[in-house]
């Protein structure tokens, strides 16, 4: 028997990456800004997104959302109350969304065409680990953490925070009762992803939403 070494040098998730690159091209040519929202379960992604969708609608922007969950369409129903088109992706046990799931759910989405959209939000499955490996073709990856989760979340999940383009702190209305150390949280985020834009928000009081919306409008401008 002889031994042969075959150099492959290929990405393990090459298929996903290629599909995501195709989606990114599609999104860019349709002129839609796509954001991938990632956080732990319970951070408040859905409440934050609901408020975002409403606010964008009030400003005359066309926004839609794909929502990933293991099971149930509760989140899609909740978000649909904002008036925006929403489609649920049930992963049935898979802990992250991948480019193929996104692609499949864009097809045959009644009443929605990418060309008519300004924003498409993809709410990922609640998980801070696995979604960081899967490119969905988004232009902006947003990592969210709530004040109830502790200031060291970015240090515990550097893979996600380092690959994100923006960070959103949610539930800041609970900062005081939770003893949330704001300075420490901001420092930790910056240690893991130097220079990242951070938004401090509350879906309950609406705090920080103006800054977040200004960011969305600025990012949607064709460069």
């Amino acid at each position: 028997m002889t031994t042969r070494i075959v150099e492959l040098r290929r990405g393990i998730l090459k298929k996903n990456d290629e599909l995501a690159a195709g989606l990114r091209q599609r999104f860019t040519s349709a002129g839609v800004l796509v954001l991938n929202l990632v956080s732990s379960p319970g951070t408040g992604k859905t409440a934050f997104l609901e408020l975002t969708l409403r606010a964008l609608r009030e400003r005359g922007a066309h926004a839609a959302a794909l929502v990933g969950d293991l099971e149930t369409d509760n989140d899609a129903r909740r978000l649909a109350a904002s008036g925006a088109p929403v489609r649920q992706i049930n992963t049935h046990g898979i802990c992250h969304l991948d480019a193929e799931m996104v692609s499949k759910h864009l097809d045959g989405w009644e009443g929605v065409s990418l060309v008519g959209l300004d924003y498409l939000f993809i709410e990922n499955v609640g998980n801070l680990v696995c979604p960081s490996s899967y490119d969905l073709g988004e232009r902006i990856r947003v990592a969210l953490l709530s004040v109830t989760e502790g200031e060291d979340k970015p240090l515990k999940y550097p893979g996600l925070f380092n690959s994100s383009d923006a960070a959103v702190i949610t539930k800041i209305d609970l900062a005081v009762p939770c003893g949330f150390d704001r300075e420490l949280a901001l420092k930790n985020i910056n240690e893991i992803r130097p220079g990242i834009r951070v938004f401090e928000t509350s879906a309950k009081t609406g705090a920080g939403m103006d800054e977040w919306l200004a960011y969305l409008l600025e990012q949607a401008q064709p460069s």
Partner: protein, 138 residues
């Protein structure tokens, strides 16, 4: 637990590449995994056994080469390896360094195949060659 999806992707890719070498057995698969790839080694090894079972790559060893994070420092104009993944600072000057040059890799570097000896490759020549070499040595 996306290690199972990752393991399944490796099985698929390796099976495809190895099919170009009929009769060969895959002995090992070497990976390059960055410190920021969000992959747990033990979990991936466990899932590899599950995912490869019954496939043409069953029994192959998974060798994981872990890569540290390398950042580029704008002030020093130097790429440096950083220790751990808790602080992205240039180890020379201590400044924050956002420019990542290594650490997110999740790739198959190579596969090691065991192939049967090529029977038809001029056995006469090799037989005469071998004693010549041995004689020279003695």
């Amino acid at each position: 637990m996306h290690e199972l999806s990752i393991a399944a992707s490796i099985v698929e890719a390796v099976t495809e590449s190895a099919s170009a070498y009929p009769g060969a057995r895959v002995k090992a698969v070497r990976l390059r995994v960055g410190a920021l790839a969000s992959v747990i080694e033990d979990s991936l090894q466990f899932c590899w056994e599950l995912a490869s079972e019954g496939s043409p790559v069953a029994g192959a060893k998974l060798v994981i080469n872990k890569l540290p994070v390398i950042v580029h420092c704008d002030s020093c104009s130097v790429d440096s390896e950083i220790e751990g993944v808790q602080s992205f600072r240039c180890p020379r000057c201590g400044e924050l360094a956002a420019d990542l040059r290594q650490g997110r890799e999740l790739e198959i570097e190579s596969i090691e195949l065991e192939e049967p000896e090529p029977q038809e490759s001029k056995p006469m020549e090799s037989k005469t060659d071998v004693p010549d070499v041995v004689e020279e040595q003695t």
